[in-house]
Symmetry: C2
Subunit: 593 residues, 2 copies
């Protein structure tokens, strides 16, 4: 069975949990209805399943090729990319002013799960382009917007994000790429950027590079970084393409996975670039794209896990091996399917609980992205607070648990999973990068405890705790879902305790915050999923109480029960570890490692 | 820095924890002294570092090639293999009667860690050969022993283990390979075996295949399986090689890792084979090799983690990025080395705690392997009990945590780790198989709770609990290592509680045992490592108390402290999960996955 987009799971969350029809009075939702969303997702599912998914293994096996600066994608990828552009998918959530369809993020982040699951490497071509579109939309001058946005919105042109250099990944203050002002107001950009996803390829006529560089004489460190737009081909005033710019792909990385995506070494040699936003404020401008990329990466890690989980379920149903511990379940066959074994079910349910909980978490986050634009200031502020707070959790927790789920999916396959004959290996290899790029997960954890938590005096987390408390109270009489509500309340209590510990110990010694950060992020992620699972259980139970015998609802409750009983206990272990503080880590001399 | 064999860590455990000089009165130890072991390990380290380690990446990049039944290994591997044979390493622990050096298992399992870390794929050639040697040594007829053992002992010939067929991996009762008796007492073997590690290669003159097959008319299932020795070239009575046998490699698996090892599809077409041991008792005979392979796999998973950890430490010391949270530590440089960051240290210390704890666990297990041969019946019985009980834990726990450690090692590298330019990717890809082959980890967990625990009325586990209790009592006044002893006592208490739960619930419903098995195995593994770490802490503290200022001892205590504070808390989470029982897993209908 090839990948099957989980339309029902997502529309259940959108319609029965988030109840998106409630938001028609919010900016961006005026033309949105649950019916329309359903229709879009069904079409999107078809596209992901039929056009993109079949390319995934080809991409892994062939990878990309570089010859004299020209990068060629795997067989069939260019054609599929064009099909995608023609079908209008890249512009789904773009601004109608620039040719977009104006759909809200919840629709984009639902469809995005389908494409990333169908092929993570393929989805990075439109993914980076969209990030570039958003950054220019937020920070570009009117001329820049007019010049680049329409073609980026449709996907006719590609977009990239150029941050990393050989000497700097996480620490962008070390950037050396230089920008020298030209007489015409443009800049000459010179330097090398590495690990540039979709940096060069043959799918599009032009590629718009967003490049962090240092203007001559700028202050040292992060405060001297500016953002530039550097097109592969210069764009004439009439929109036609002009001369080739001084930027070239000089190398492709040989990577463990995502082979179908060209990870490029980009050499800028006096390339013409134009300042985006203000001088020396490049980091702030780039953060629009980086935040989008972080959410996209969380979604990607989760999406790969979804596909890996599906492959594992198929294998577990097909593979006949051994007998059930309680007597044959397939007495006429030579053996039982391995899905009869409790430990196989444990692995599958763990992956399923992560995948379905994560899907809801992503959609809830997407809703916050949309509500940021609300005209109701209180709604908008709260949504912005949540976005800031939640972004590192979506990125790091979902990629960490997503990788874990792909590894479980491989394990279900036994030896078959280790051969490249089955898709499990590609999923595992592809998923591993999501824990690293767009800010390694440790950096996300530090961002969470060091920046996002204390922002505005802790307003975001207090507000979130308030929401959870209100929900727990509201559902306190709902006997049928009691374990879900109790689990949520306990997890939230632990998170609160961890937050208090951080306040008391992190200020006094920042190393305590660093030492606690990853465990804190995991408690946060578990609490977020507990919240999602509680809401899904309530919505499913409502249908069951109303007489529905649809096994879909019973399945949701059963999977959620696994989450509560078998995943939430990790909260206590994380809390214990967190409270041990920095000393155990910092007292070891570097030479003792 | 290339791989550096941890001689000091291992000799510390052998000499200062196990105090191997105490065992000279035991069978197999008469010629063993700590000085001799030190000398062997130093030579072995040199060989692993200088001859084997440099081949590892070549093996990954080139893999093996199959042309017309002939398998060629990667560049330089054949030569290194011959160098190893000439140096006498394969015969280290073999029986002097058959040309071996008669060293005990503790020496073999120490040296084995070096070769497996230097190159996991390479070490599988002598590894499988040694397993084949052991199985024939235990079960072969005198003629078979005389014919095969001397050449297997030296490594001049290779050995393999042929169990799996396309329709059966775990469930060997489904084996179809046929054995038809010939008039001369031999059998004609026909069938296909898959995933045969080192199945065919050009390093040796002959390969001795041990093959599970079904003699015509044998009972169905596992009770009709017999073991055969099937040489690639028939061996004449004078020991010279005769005609080519009817066995051929017809395919190589394309795998995620261990590319340098030839994983073969072996086709037997009327190949001449000779029964090893009794008819229809093949499983019991093969279990000698399987148990050895399980220990070897646990060791392998751990060894790869050792090498991966070392690479991560080197990267963390070299990579300058960002500043310490408590002010610059490398003020003259552009940034601090990333080892200043608490979360980087968390990852490194977690890997280090697993690696060094695991090293001790492996050596302790090897000592049991040796003591099985004791003339003191009580000592031998206890050692046999322990071997049976511990084997699935060594295999599954060390490979599970070993893989986790290799993944942490990649994470420390950031984006660099995902490129094939650094060794992190190969370590991760190579390590992943160890959780799967030689009985997937879930099977090990089931073996532990379903077979090993109840054996002899639980004698083994009761004896182990007794040892731990005695040790805890003995050290109860040792204030300096109090947290280690308390941690061990608590973990053992949880394991005891889990064991009671299994007794009460597993009998009544075997699915409860299956559902609890993996969490049980993890509590067991954590307790085993807590025991090892407590003993290492006691030994290190003894030196410190005696005035040693060697940082090695302080380092051991610091790493052990990480284990106690940051890893042992998982025990509680596993216990909680374990007690949820089978219902949460089994009540989900297969269609709901």
């Amino acid at each position: 069975m090839p990948y099957k987009a989980p339309v029902r799971d997502l529309t259940f969350f959108l319609n029965e949990v988030l109840e998106i029809d409630r938001y028609t009075n919010q900016a961006g939702f005026s033309e949105v209805s649950s019916d329309l969303v359903q229709q879009i997702l069904e079409e999107g599912a078809k596209f992901a399943e039929e056009v993109i998914a079949p390319l995934n293994r080809t991409g892994d096996a062939e990878g990309c090729k570089l010859e004299a600066g020209v990068v060629t994608g795997p067989t069939g990828w260019k054609e599929a990319y064009h099909q995608m552009v023609e079908a209008g998918w890249p512009s789904l959530t773009c601004d109608p002013e620039f040719g977009g369809q104006g759909m809200p993020s919840i629709v984009g982040m639902a469809f995005g799960q389908f494409t990333a699951a169908a092929s993570a490497a393929f989805s990075m071509y439109p993914g980076l382009t969209h990030g570039c579109y958003e950054a220019l939309h937020a920070n570009g001058s009117p001329e820049q917007k007019a010049k680049y946005l329409p073609k980026l919105a449709t996907g006719e042109w590609g977009g990239t994000m150029n941050l990393t250099e050989p000497q700097c990944g996480t620490d962008l203050g070390l950037i050396r790429t230089k920008a020298v002002p030209n007489a015409d107001g443009s800049y000459s950009i010179t330097g090398q950027k590495i690990w540039i996803s979709s940096g060069e390829h043959d799918f599009v006529d032009n590629i718009v590079h967003l490049v962090l560089a240092r203007i001559e004489g700028a202050p040292a460190g992060i405060k001297g970084i500016s953002l530039f737009v550097v097109p592969k081909f210069l764009v004439n005033d009439d929109g036609s393409l002009g001369e080739r710019n001084g930027v070239e792909c000089v190398g492709l990385e040989h990577k463990m996975g995502i082979h179908g995506n060209a990870t490029c070494v980009m050499q800028y040699e006096g390339a013409k670039g134009w300042l985006v936003g203000q001088e020396n404020k490049g980091m702030a401008a780039m953060f629009v794209m980086m935040n989008e990329a972080r959410l996209g990466t969380g979604l990607q890690g989760l999406a790969i896990a979804t596909a890996a989980y599906q492959a594992a379920v198929e294998f577990a149903n097909d593979r006949l091996q051994g007998r059930s511990l309680t007597g044959p379940k397939n007495a006429d066959g030579p053996a039982d399917p391995i899905i009869v074994h409790p430990d196989v079910r444990r692995m599958l349910l763990e992956a399923k609980a992560i995948v379905e909980g994560g899907q809801g978490f992503v959609l809830w986050t997407a809703l916050q992205a949309d509500l940021q634009r609300s005209e109701d200031e209180a709604v908008a502020t709260k949504a912005k607070d949540y976005m800031a707070l939640i972004t590192p959790v979506v990125k790091a927790y979902l990629t960490d648990r997503g990788f874990h789920a792909t590894s479980l999916a491989m394990q279900v396959h036994g030896g078959s999973g280790y051969t490249e004959h089955f898709p499990a290996s590609q999923y595992l290899r592809d998923a591993r990068i999501t824990m690293i790029y767009e800010g390694a997960n440790g950096i996300q954890a530090l961002d969470l405890v060091g920046r996002k938590l204390p922002q505005n005096g802790g307003r975001a987390i207090m507000s979130w705790f308030g929401d959870i408390d209100a929900y727990v109270n509201e559902q306190s009489g709902n006997e049928a879902v009691k374990p879900f509500i109790e689990g949520l309340a306990e997890s939230k209590k632990a998170l609160q305790e961890a937050t208090m510990w951080l306040m008391q110990n992190g200020m006094q010694n920042p190393d305590n915050a660093g030492a606690a950060s990853t465990d804190y992020l995991h408690i946060f992620g578990l609490t977020a999923l507990a919240y999602v699972w509680a809401q899904m259980a309530v919505a499913a139970q409502k249908q069951i109480d109303a007489g529905s015998s649809d096994p879909f609802y019973a399945g949701k409750i059963a999977t959620g029960r696994y989450f509560v009983e078998r995943m939430l206990p990790d909260v206590g272990a994380h809390l214990k570890k967190l409270k041990t503080g920095a000393d155990v880590l910092m007292s070891v001399p570097a030479a003792a490692f």
